[in-house]
């Protein structure tokens, strides 16, 4: 009998106590009423229009910032790695990306209020130039405002993740393609993009999760005015709005289900990309 697995027991005890048990208790609570009887009512209540809207908005903000973030961050990483720029661009952009991708929460929200709020720097600047952002329908405390703010930590994360992928594109492949008569566009469509696709897809999925769980930035930016799921759960913990903790557990359970799907997708893409690049 081999007893050496005992060395890993503290870790698994810790994980059970502070990771598995809390999540399991939320899942169980989702299927209970206030007296502890089994019910599907909480899950059914997730179908209320306001809750469905919150999930849709959360998924939209996460999806849009994941896609836009990957696009913009990808273009930046491309420009940095393959754009024949002087070295200092990279020497600046990489550490800056490290800092900016960690710059979230209350300070980030405040930076955007100072920039794109009603009396923010850029808003006032554009107004002086005769363009009123807020008359044109922009509002920092709405969908696009929140997305613009999230992109501040999403884009640099992409730069960090995709830089190695762009570096892995060998110049010889392009030379070989060109010597066989391929145009630049053809090279990108048929060679570079297929090679980058697995990395791009898993970046999108990672960013989705990053935005989906974000609470502090949204809270500091909009208070409770924009209904995304994390904000709804936060209100539920304080217990002064919905007065139904079990519905709150169901909300949290819904988030875990969505994130589990995302993680499954992520690992599937990872495995695929690993196989692809062999």
């Amino acid at each position: 009998m081999n007893w050496s697995w005992l060395g890993t027991v503290p870790f698994f005890l810790f994980a059970c106590a502070f990771l598995v048990l809390p999540s399991a208790s939320l899942v169980i609570g989702s299927f209970q009423d206030n007296e502890g009887n089994f019910t599907l009512q909480n899950i059914a209540d997730l179908g209320q229009p306001s809750i469905v809207n919150a999930y849709v908005l959360s998924v939209q903000v996460s999806g849009v910032t994941a896609l836009l973030g990957t696009l913009v961050g990808g273009l930046l990483a491309w420009a940095m790695v393959l754009g024949r720029l002087p070295r200092f661009v990279r020497a600046f952009l990489i550490p800056f990306s490290g800092v900016a991708s960690n710059f979230a929460g209350v300070p980030l929200a405040f930076a955007f209020i100072a920039t794109l709020g009603r009396v923010g720097f850029v808003t006032v600047l554009l107004k002086d130039l005769g363009f009123n952002l807020y008359d044109k329908g922009f509002n920092l405390y709405s969908f696009w405002g929140l997305s613009a703010t999230y992109l501040y930590f999403q884009i640099p994360l992409v730069v960090l993740i995709l830089t190695p992928a762009f570096e892995a594109l060998r110049p010889q492949w392009r030379e070989a393609a060109e010597s066989l008569g391929a145009s630049g566009g053809y090279y990108w469509r048929s060679i570079a993009l297929p090679i980058l696709t697995p990395a791009l897809l898993s970046t999108v999925v990672l960013l989705f999760g990053n935005a989906f769980g974000a609470y502090a930035t949204a809270y500091a930016l909009t208070g409770g005015s924009l209904n995304i799921v994390p904000i709804m759960i936060g209100a539920q913990i304080q217990g002064d709005i919905l007065h139904n903790p079990n519905l709150g557990y169901a909300l949290a359970f819904g988030m875990m289900v969505i994130m589990t799907l995302v993680l499954v997708l992520y690992s599937w893409l990872q495995r695929r990309s690993a196989r692809w690049l062999q």
Binding site: S4, W5, G7, T8, P10, F11, F14, A15, A17, F18, L19, P22, S23, S25, L26, G29, L75, L76, W78, A79, L82, G83, R84, L85, V89, P95, F96, G98, V99, A100, N102, F103, G105, V106, P107, L108, F110, A111, A114, T115, G120, F121, V122, Y152, I155, F212, G213, A214, Y215, A216, Y219, A220, G234, I237, Q238, Y249, A252, M256, M259, L263
Partner: protein
Amino acid sequence: MKKRSSLVAWLFIILGTSYFLLPLIATFLFSLRAKKDSLGFTAYQRVFADSSFYETFLFSALMALLTIIASLLLLVPTVYWAYLRHPRLHRLIELVSLMPFVIPPIVLVFGLIKSYSRPPVILVQSRGLLIAGYMVLTLPYMYRAIDAGLRATNVKTLTEAAQSLGAGWPRIIWQVIVPNVRGALVNGAFLTFATVLGELTLAQYLAWPAFGPYLARISQNKAYEPAALTIISFALTWVIFGIVLLVNSKDQQQTQFGGTH
């Protein structure tokens, strides 16, 4: 052709950089306007004169430190042991360390409150629960850092060599394994530090006087101080990240040294 692609690249870089610099410039300019009709560092003076700035900062820094210590004590022996004896458990540990990705902080804190606010175990008012929560939040970084460090080290050979010289387990871990993965540990530690320092969700709902809730409170009640605090916390992030970069480059030199022997 080559010239054109470089121009497009410049365009992207300039557009991207302005998107990142504008909010910082705007915040900085705003922070200078605390005194009517003149620019100055009044807002910063007020921030540094506020005693709760130091108290909350010290509280969060202390919690971050305790989180790092507890994480290292828990994770280093575990990951090491799994590498040495249990490749299969290693996969399971990896899976568990990814779980915080599925459970956002707001969900985690809700679960912790639900699990530990009534008998048999009441922990909601204990610092231990906050630290445990932080350990969970930073588990993915910490695990990855330790895993990367051990992967680059020949754990089995080192252990067998130490054992053949008569070293016991605590000595092997402390004097053989830890020095070899020091750079990786410092990386994980600083990432943890940066994360815990500004963390809002856990501290707010477990009701601790931490730096994150302080920032949130100030930004709701004051006009210019939050701008100053934003600039200060951006600078702090740079300092932390700078140390990581410094340690990283030093560590690379060390590994190169090791390679030439």
